[in-house]
Symmetry: C2
Subunit: 401 residues, 2 copies
Amino acid sequence: MIAEKMVGFVENNSAIRMMFEEGKRLSKLYGAENVYDFSLGNPNVPAPCAVDNAIKDILDSEDSSYVHGYMSNAGYEDVRRTIADSLNRRFGTDFTDRNLIMTVGAAGGLNVIFRALLNPGDEVITFAPYFLEYRAYVGNFDGVLVEVPPNIPSFLPNLKELEKRITPRTKCVLINNPNNPTGVVYPENIIRELTAIIERKSFEFNTDIYLISDEPYRELVYDGVNVPYLTKYYANTVVGYSFSKSLSLPGERIGYIAVPNEMKDFDTVVSALTIANRILGYVNAPSLIQRAVARAIDSKTDVGYYDRNRKLLYSTLKNLGFDIVKPEGAFYLFVKSPVEDEKIFCDMAKEENIIMVPGSSFACPGYVRLAYCVSYETIERSIPAWNRLMEKLKKGNLNLK
Amino acid sequence: MIAEKMVGFVENNSAIRMMFEEGKRLSKLYGAENVYDFSLGNPNVPAPCAVDNAIKDILDSEDSSYVHGYMSNAGYEDVRRTIADSLNRRFGTDFTDRNLIMTVGAAGGLNVIFRALLNPGDEVITFAPYFLEYRAYVGNFDGVLVEVPPNIPSFLPNLKELEKRITPRTKCVLINNPNNPTGVVYPENIIRELTAIIERKSFEFNTDIYLISDEPYRELVYDGVNVPYLTKYYANTVVGYSFSKSLSLPGERIGYIAVPNEMKDFDTVVSALTIANRILGYVNAPSLIQRAVARAIDSKTDVGYYDRNRKLLYSTLKNLGFDIVKPEGAFYLFVKSPVEDEKIFCDMAKEENIIMVPGSSFACPGYVRLAYCVSYETIERSIPAWNRLMEKLKKGNLNLK
């Protein structure tokens, strides 16, 4: 009875979500404090007080019909202006409200982007490992997701393989920086090479290729690392942003799309995005929380908290001999599985109440993802479990590397 | 550069939204108090105090990570249970949390429903006049919207014409009760006839046909009129609801889908809907406002306010000789244009600073829609303008009826 496209999804629901449900099941069985659930990117650092205070202030001081009412499909103009000013200050852009469209999170933003841009059969290239939902988002509009294989061990984008995969059907190149699931941050020189390749190939094929930058983790970086702002490197860039991680509001579904003035056919593209936001049924990003993030625009989640977690989990696993790519952003560790089939490794870890997500859920088998947006104490308490797991791995007659 | 499907939309943006922008333009020119903008269904009665109080209480008493965090893609279980209990009390249903999926308003809900159910080429039948966005929602997933012509002058569904249009490709019949734009409420005998036809035809063709009930106006009815709850009349019913009008929260994007236990393949359909909610990028309905509507579940907007408006505007226009279908629900009047081309009538009205939406925006030319979710004073102040408009219509050598 359901759509044919949905059958596969129903039979094979999101592995990340299944691990999350598994974690909840084990917590009931053994007590939450004895389960080490590294499955979900659900920030454990609460939203800054400024957000809740802003919400209360808005309710007390602004007109109710305005705060809870419809506004332009692109969002409140003053909210967009506030965000534009903040981006201009931090990244030297020249945005006004007209460059921004408020969206239902970054996932909503990506769907709006693909609805606005893709014709059936258009190709969207992305770099493995990647958030597997990309495939569904592109598929919603009959686009084709084209994978560039993982660049092991750096996990920077494999630019040679990118160049080979750009065809006259390529409509978008989609990158996620800082990266989920690796925690890697792509530096400026890589961005310059990447945009040069796209320029060259779109000139060769006489096509327009969009660079889509999915950046919910922009604010979550460590050791002073710089995350290049892509509109400054490539004109036909569309940025998808979310406040889910930077303000710990993932359930609120609030983010935006940014389009630079240099975009070819700027007005048409912005119109198409705004209308896509309407006709996909979002209509507009949730109103009260739009106004709240604008008031709290200078607030930021406690990145130091995640940094402590990162250091503890990274050093713990490194000392045990695990092979991990150095994480400079987001809140994930991407760990090489000591067993060839990483799903077996995940099952072994689950016996120690450690929940993690297999890399095959990110088109990169042989690795696992650990989300360290958990309490510091969870990581501390998990250390004996990691030790036991390593003992088992050593004892077992497994195909260890 | 944009998707071919979007070109028409960009060239021919929503007439309702254009009228809304026109109203804003005239307000700047003549002062808001001298413009009578009946274009947009944006409730002017503020949300009940209980909503804002609930939001503040939640922020003060519940855990921030819980309130702003991810939850199951179908929404918080306790929120769904509260809504299910309320529906059970009022309509004698037997819902639990498993029957409900929280959505980004009713527009989000309809997109989720069509994403979950439609294969390309599947037909969705609806009754003119209808909210023109339906065409876009169905088209998002390559379905085909099939119109049943308007049943003038009652504007009840034309059931004979429905029966003729049901084919083996019919996947859904979509109704909107109380109706936008007519304000008509379909009574129980019509619902019984309608569901009997669908039963008969789906038996004849050996197909499954879903009845989709779009009911954001369920709570907005007058004179004690009853709005039948459709799951009780037809097993394969999916209800799309929104709190936009009942709690005056249109900007917040909060609603739900309800699926009865009698639904064929219940588990599969609910899974498909829940996954569609995730992969369309909604992920989940906004979290804080989910919790707030549950706390305010027994609150209701001031329907008496709209009723006063309804009576004043209806009697004013009736007395001037306009032909109007009696409105029993929602907050719209559907008025027969005294000029054959209702767009000319809209332009004449605009000269008097009266803004209304042509019926062709609802697949029903020759009529206009007036949204009376405005202040009572706006209607009072508009009376001389209506008088002048009627004078002009009488004087002009127009094709009056």
